[in-house]
Symmetry: C2
């Protein structure tokens, strides 16, 4: 490949890394009064990234490379990925970019105030403006009549509403009766969080032990504390996880660490020859989330895993866990209970929370739901799918930050992550016959290596669903996920599947 | 001022802030394996900064603004500072910039190996290359026959060898006999570091207490740990100090924190209306160092200061300091003793270490000292000025990192800092008649406010010496510094001054 083009790819990747650093730092270490200064710095950096991405010389070089003979498959993929990213960015007029940035900032502000007042109406005008701009943006990107597709493409390249809706609707129809059956039948375990204290340093050490066992390389990454755990960083050799430590409940730290480690392994697993190129990236948010979910739920909430780790956990908290056995603990980490808040929900109810959001944001982008009916529509769906009714908007339609800054199209990637995770785990079980026994001994590296070889290493070479199909033999499906839940929770198929 | 020009100034400042962030992070939090990735990111960022600084459109805008009527004084100063910076950068050919970067990297590598082998000869070829490129760079910058001036200009704008050499030579001639008189006469204090343990957390808390009292705003900055303490950050509201904690000796943490806080106060003290402009910067490294030295030595090693803080220190380390009184402690922090290592030297001998370096690097840049004679020349001067002889090159000519990456012209700014510090402190005593009494009560804010108003607030508006003259009534002089030492250590003038 042309050395100029390669150096431009590397430069763009370096700039993304630096945006990652400035964002990570902002969430964790930025002094309180430096917010506006950092906003300026980030805006400058993003502006330079934009300017260099839309540079016509880059466009010409990409066009030329796309027709060039003699490129390797990887080089062809690099050119293709960057071309697509560039074409999207070029299509959005600068005035719309600015208007969106402003509306996002106002949206966040209004959302925070609305949450304080517990009144959606306070946020409604800002959301109205954001929706209108996002529709305009979707039209600028271009679509075949379904604007939502154009937004979804930014998070889940290649996925379309026509493909997604049937899968998520069927999933929903299977989950609703399953939740009904399961909730209330939970084993009555002792409440592990009834005022017991779990030493913070011991929690931190336990999470570091988990990172080591999972194979997250702490010489190519780090873990810090933050209020909202996330995965960031600047490069495959500089991947930064955060976790949170709650003295009254160690599950928060444990599952945050495992979840973020799943994301982090993806980032650390990119092929070294792809570093500083467009291929050193996950092909979609859904596939990224599949890795965090696989580790968090399929592994981290399994009996085999805790047969190994529960004795170590009890050693870490001998007082708080005195008299608790592994069955009590498994019951606590696998309790199924319909709840109001998505981020606190279990692996069975979780996708129903996503169904509510996906269906509503699709209506909103299509302009088929008047905004003043949104809270009622939210509450009605929560009642219908989960049997719970939010007592106010803050515990209902205002709970997530996503819409507050106009991020529509992101929510379904969480469900895609859950579905892909189950399919990939099933493929791993077939490929690694001793997997469960390995987990039972705390040997997590064979699974990590299998995921690295089959998923992480490929980076952005194939769209997510094609990569999953290459590994599992099939594309997006809810069968593996539902099968996993039925086996784990001992529920018979409710609709004759 | 033209809004385009202002936005370019802001953008350049934002990029400098981001370079600051990436550098700070690299020293403290970067994972071990991410070094090469960060080097790429920094090089990309520096390349973009360079590209935008030498952009001919910026040159035109600056030329136009320089002749424009109706600019405020501040705007005129912004234009002037950026013009000078740009002109220097424009003059160095890109090939030379690349060659220097490569030679610096090789220099650091060779220097580390040479230190391991304790042999200067291992480093000599790399230094030879660096010197040759730095001479070339000096010629590119332009000078009146004294190449060193062109390099000094990068650290101490406006200063010249012709002005500096007489001052530093006279200083040296006064210090040599003073050191002779003082060393050996030190009060025989109990050794405070004979295996006693000073709790690390208590040291950390003590440094935070000092930062608070000194008026370093921890909501507009932070303190972290690093091996080599430094001051970095991204903006006047995001100033980042580091300190180091040695369990066997709390003076390391205490004086590192006070020193870096002096630098940090300068950065935090820039006028808000100068933020994101070329004026939000110190006009020279010497004036910057004057602030760290003033707090570290003039305040932090004074009797008045410790009359307040020693009781607090004893409360922090009741076991280690049992039976130690303030006199013992003052003797320990003010012991004068010729030594081999600059960074461990006291305030009397320190400038003799600088004299060795300044004189030698001046000879090197002038090409008047064959490189293979450098270690012997170093040792001879150490013997002559300080009466000590390095047992090997690692404790001699190889001790500092500066020459390892070709930084010549920096060392004298340390002595300038000491001289300016004494002059400024004397002016502060005149302006604040109750100063000593305030220190004695731990009231440090009046001094900070005076420095903020007279030094920090002005940023880059005047060259360093002019700023000092505006405050003290005189420019660079060794009289205040020598007077301070004579009074403090009770030495009579040795040469009839």
């Amino acid at each position: 490949m042309d050395t100029w083009l390669l150096s431009r790819m590397q430069e763009l990747k370096d700039l993304q890394g630096l945006i990652g650093l400035a964002t990570w730092d902002q969430e964790i270490y930025l002094p309180a009064r430096a917010g506006p200064a950092r906003a300026h710095q980030l805006s400058t950096l993003q502006g330079i990234h934009h300017e260099r991405l839309v540079d016509p010389r880059l466009g010409d070089a990409l066009e030329k490379a796309a027709t060039e003979a003699g490129l390797t498959d990887d080089e062809r993929a690099m050119v293709e990925v960057l071309r697509r990213e560039r074409e999207r960015e070029v299509r959005v007029p600068a005035a719309l970019v600015r208007a969106l940035a402003e509306a996002q900032s106002q949206g966040l502000h209004a959302w925070r105030e609305a949450r304080q007042e517990r009144k959606f109406a306070r946020f409604q005008p800002a959301l109205h403006r954001l929706l209108s701009l996002r529709r305009e943006q979707a039209d600028a990107y271009g679509h075949d009549g379904e604007r939502y597709d154009a937004l979804l493409e930014g998070y889940e390249p290649g996925m379309r509403v026509a493909r997604l809706t049937p899968v998520l609707s069927t999933l929903r129809e299977h989950l609703i009766p399953m939740v009904g059956t399961l909730s209330g039948t939970a084993r009555k375990a002792p409440d592990l969080f009834d005022g017991r204290r779990y030493d913070k340093d011991a929690q931190w050490r336990f999470t570091l032990r988990l990172l080591k066992d999972i194979g997250f390389d702490l010489e190519a990454g780090r873990q810090d504390l933050s209020i909202h755990p996330f995965t960031g960083g600047t490069h495959a050799l500089d991947v930064r996880l955060t976790t949170r430590v709650d003295e009254t409940n160690p599950l928060s730290a444990i599952f945050s660490t495992i979840h973020e480690a799943g994301h982090g392994l993806f980032e650390q697993g990119f092929a070294p020859e792809h570093h500083r190129t467009p291929l050193a990236a996950a092909p979609s948010m859904g596939l990224h989330e599949s890795q965090s979910r696989l580790w968090e739920n399929l592994v981290g909430r399994s009996r085999a895993f805790w047969e190994h780790y529960f004795p170590l956990l009890r050693d870490s908290f001998p007082e708080a866990l005195a008299g608790v056995d592994v069955e009590d603990f498994l019951a606590a980490v696998n309790a199924v209970r319909p709840s109001l808040i998505r981020t606190e929900s279990d692996e069975v109810t979780y996708n129903l929370h996503i169904a509510v959001r996906y269906e509503l944001e699709l209506l909103l982008i299509r302009d088929e739901l008047p905004l003043d009916e949104l809270p009622a529509a939210w509450n009605a769906r929560m009642e219908r799918y989960l049997g719970v009714t939010p007592p106010d908007d803050t515990q209902g339609v205002l709970q997530d930050i996503h819409w507050a800054w106009g991020e529509l199209g992101y929510f379904p990637t969480y469900s895609l992550g859950n579905l892909y995770a189950a399919s990939l785990y099933r493929a791993a079980e077939r490929a690694l016959p001793g997997l469960e026994g390995q987990l039972r001994q705390g040997h997590l590296l064979p699974l990590r290596d299998w995921l690295r070889e089959n998923i992480h290493h490929h980076g952005f070479r194939l769209p997510a669903e094609e990569r999953v199909r290459a590994v599992t033999g099939q594309g997006l499906t809810d069968a593996d996920f539902l099968g996993y839940l039925r086996t784990k929770y001992g529920v018979a198929s409710c609709q004759g599947r």
